[in-house]
Symmetry: C2
Subunit: 198 residues, 2 copies
DNA sequence: GCCTTAACGCAAAGAATTTGCGTTAAGGCC
DNA sequence: GGCCTTAACGCAAATTCTTTGCGTTAAGGC
């Protein structure tokens, strides 16, 4: 079935879900988080509050649902020609997205519902993107990096600083972390892992 | 029921805060998180709901407040005689506390209020504990590790796995991360940083 | 085109949150 | 020590949010 622009033609259910998601995105940009309520979202979306309560349970689950969608990657990682370049571009953009105000808000919404697999799903997005870069490296004949290892060395520290607000987050910091990945040490003239930030 | 031994003698305010905190801790252990409401906590603490609303604003801020107190270290890091031993003991315990159900719940409560400095305060607890171990290392004449570097290499990855639910969390994993800290490579027969988990 | 059923709208009931106002007690001052 | 000022609390009414029963709509199968 041909997918139209915004409103999914087939199904009242899908149409309402899209309207509610849109309402959340619009209102999130307009008003403060504490002011956001289910009745307000329902009014903007043109549905009754009970529809939202029955479908999502409560506000936090709805916000988590919307946040996962917004954190879903929209494209493949940029191909810069080299694995080091691909990783640097991707990681710096990841850092900037996550450390922005809207990024932090979405992370919070995703982490609120522990029972839901929201956070795990977002981690999967990251793994998939990094795996694409690793696969591309293998295709080029370069030695591919281990995705789990890169998450430990680069993604984990970045996310820690984003969530717990410690330390500076700069592209240089990202490069310093990337310089510690063993598979990337062959080509460039990166310093040893005794890296110093800024 | 709510026996009040630990009442802070000076001040109604402090007494009420202690009663409310106790009520939150008791109820958190008894009922599910979704069932926890301000009126319920107020009844257990023997205060009126409006007192809690005026003092903490809403439930999430109260829970964050309580969670920070519960995440505050109660003692200095265990002194095992060596820096490597101190770090291994501390990090493994940190991992076990944070990855437990109650630990995850407290982390969630702490991360919910971005505007509050709760998360930053918890990160400070970690820094202070690690700095104590580093100072002890210097006192022994060992080369002290850099706390920021250890947070990047060990704490960040652990917290990522705790929050985003990816990968296994075992003492061996903690040791593998610790083996990557350059200052700890001198004494032990640890592998190089090409570390592989279990 | 008809049938079954999941999902929605509406409205009333129930629960939580906010707010005005009187009261209590902590801390400063004499 | 007693008095005074004021921040914090208790109470209850008003408001807002959440839940729920029931009738209605429309998606998907035949």
């Amino acid at each position: 079935m041909a997918v139209k622009e915004r409103i999914r033609v087939g199904g009242r259910s899908a149409r309402i879900q899209a309207a509610v998601h849109d309402a959340v995105r619009e209102l999130s940009a307009e008003i403060d988080r504490a002011e956001l309520t289910v009745p307000l979202i329902a009014a903007r979306a043109g549905v009754t509050p009970s529809t939202i309560y029955r479908r999502w349970g409560d506000l936090s689950e709805l916000l988590g649902d919307v946040a996962v969608e917004r954190l879903r990657p929209v494209a493949e990682p940029l191909d810069t020609g080299s694995t080091a370049g691909d990783l640097e571009a991707w990681v710096v953009q990841y850092m900037e997205e996550m450390s922005s105000a809207v990024g932090r808000a979405m992370l919070r919404d995703v982490l609120i519902n522990i029972s839901e697999g929201n956070a795990c799903q977002c981690a999967n997005f990251t793994y998939e993107q990094l795996q694409m870069i690793a696969d591309r490296a293998a295709h080029r004949g370069e030695v591919p990096f281990d995705v789990d290892d890169l998450v430990d060395r680069v993604i984990g520290p970045i996310m820690y600083h984003v969530l717990f607000g410690h330390g500076e987050l700069t592209p240089d910091y990202c490069r310093m972390l990337l310089a510690r990945v063993p598979e990337l040490k062959g080509g460039a003239d990166v310093q040893s892992a005794r890296g110093e930030a800024s």
